[in-house]
């Protein structure tokens, strides 16, 4: 346990923990677009910047990204100093120029008092803020089907050669984790399409509902100790099945399940 001070209040933190995770636990709101609890911190959006100092720093302060800065005994953090707010406003100003049509960015910018970007907006913006959440989650899943391509301002998230990525299993993790909802996908007629790749969807053998892609199911079966027919029924039907089983034990459970 280490003791740190946040906005004047003494707070306990775990050794090795990042400042942002303490802020989250304490309910202190700090914007962070590239942060996700399932992922290692990346430090690319820079919005979670806070000001730190220590008693023996002679008043000297430093701006750090809270998602990457490990707590240390005696650390003094301020999350809403004027300097930090100015940085956040300016970064949102830059993001708004890049993604003028993103609801998420617009709302966040407005909350910080940035109503309109000071810059010329990017003409063909796709609302991607290059936070790498999608590529990181894909890596965590052990696939790394997509990656950041090119560099600098030309950098985009893409599949190798822009083709259907051979390693993609259609799990949709990238689309779900994307903070600005940029990654498009479609489920239609038993097929799922994402990254220009098409997947067969499993239909629940009980209710006929489409569930996950066949390749995703195969991948999970290969990775984990799961019964071979586990994915042949949908979650709802599985729950129902369980309720029926339990119905024998508790009266009325069947009706509740239905």
């Amino acid at each position: 346990m280490v003791l740190i001070q946040i906005n004047g209040k003494m707070v306990k933190a775990h050794e090795g923990e990042m400042v942002l995770s303490v802020l989250r636990r304490e309910g202190i709101e700090v914007p962070a677009l590239c942060d996700h609890q399932a992922l290692e911190p990346g430090g690319s959006c820079r919005l979670c910047m806070v000001e730190i100092t220590k008693a023996d720093w002679d008043g000297w302060t430093k701006n750090v990204t809270s998602c990457l800065y490990p707590v240390e005994e005696g650390l003094i953090v301020s999350t809403h100093s004027e300097g930090v707010l100015e940085i956040r406003r300016n970064i949102l100003d830059m993001l708004l120029a890049r993604c003028p049509n993103s609801d998420v960015i617009q709302k966040l910018a407005e909350e910080h008092g940035v109503m309109k970007t000071s810059f010329d907006t990017l003409p063909d913006s796709d609302n991607c803020i290059m936070c790498y959440a999608c590529t990181r989650v894909c890596e965590v899943l052990g696939k790394s089907a997509i990656s950041a391509v090119m560099r600098g301002h030309k950098k985009v998230i893409a599949s190798p050669f822009g083709d259907a990525p051979p390693d993609c299993i259609g799990c949709l993790s990238c689309a779900h984790i994307c903070p600005t909802n940029v990654i498009l996908w479609k489920d239609e007629n038993g097929k799922r399409t994402i990254w220009n790749k098409s997947f067969d969807l499993i239909t629940c053998k009980k209710c006929g509902k489409e569930t996950i892609s066949r390749e995703f199911a195969d991948y999970l079966l290969e990775q984990r100790d799961i019964p071979a027919d586990y994915f042949e029924t949908c979650d709802d039907c599985k729950r129902m099945e369980l309720a029926f089983k339990m119905g024998g034990l508790v009266d009325g459970a069947e009706e509740v399940a239905i």
Binding site: S144, A145, A148, M150, R151, D167
Partner: protein, 149 residues
């Protein structure tokens, strides 16, 4: 012309599946074929057991890699600071106009590829132009085109 798969494999195999050799493998492929053939990217990923997307990411991140075939003559115009203030832009304009290609492009007859490089370190001889690794210093704008043709 499709690059010989065997040749690609031979180059890759020299590195015995060492993941950290990724950049070197791509450099070796480019040296052999003058660009990195897509087949080479795929084969590299397989041989080094690195995800294809990561190999592609590396191949597009570093500016010296080319994923498309390049011309017989590769002309590199230095745009370092010293070259810049001594008129590298003018030289670039002259060469672009003369070869009818922009920086980063290859002429349709596959004779010339024009590239821009951020400093080759011969600042004392600015402005500099490289033609297939042959260095030319103190290049005069009006003579630039003759030099590369």
């Amino acid at each position: 012309m499709t690059p010989d798969v065997k040749q690609i494999q031979k180059i890759i195999d020299q590195h015995h599946g060492d993941k950290s050799a990724l950049i070197t493998v791509l450099q070796d492929l480019q040296r052999k074929f003058n660009y990195i053939p897509p087949e080479g990217v795929t084969a590299t990923a397989k041989a080094l057991d690195v995800p294809l997307s990561k190999v592609y990411s590396v191949a597009t991140f570093y500016s010296t890699f080319s994923l498309v075939p390049r011309g017989e003559k590769i002309i590199r115009i230095c745009q370092g600071t010293a070259c810049h203030i001594k008129g590298a832009d003018l030289i670039q304009e002259q060469i672009e106009a003369g070869l009818n290609i922009k920086a980063g492009e290859t002429s349709s007859d596959m004779k010339y590829t024009l590239e821009v490089v951020n400093c080759v370190g011969v600042c004392a001889m600015a402005p500099a132009v490289l033609v297939n690794d042959k260095m030319h210093g103190n290049v005069r704008c009006e003579k630039a085109l003759k030099l590369v043709k």
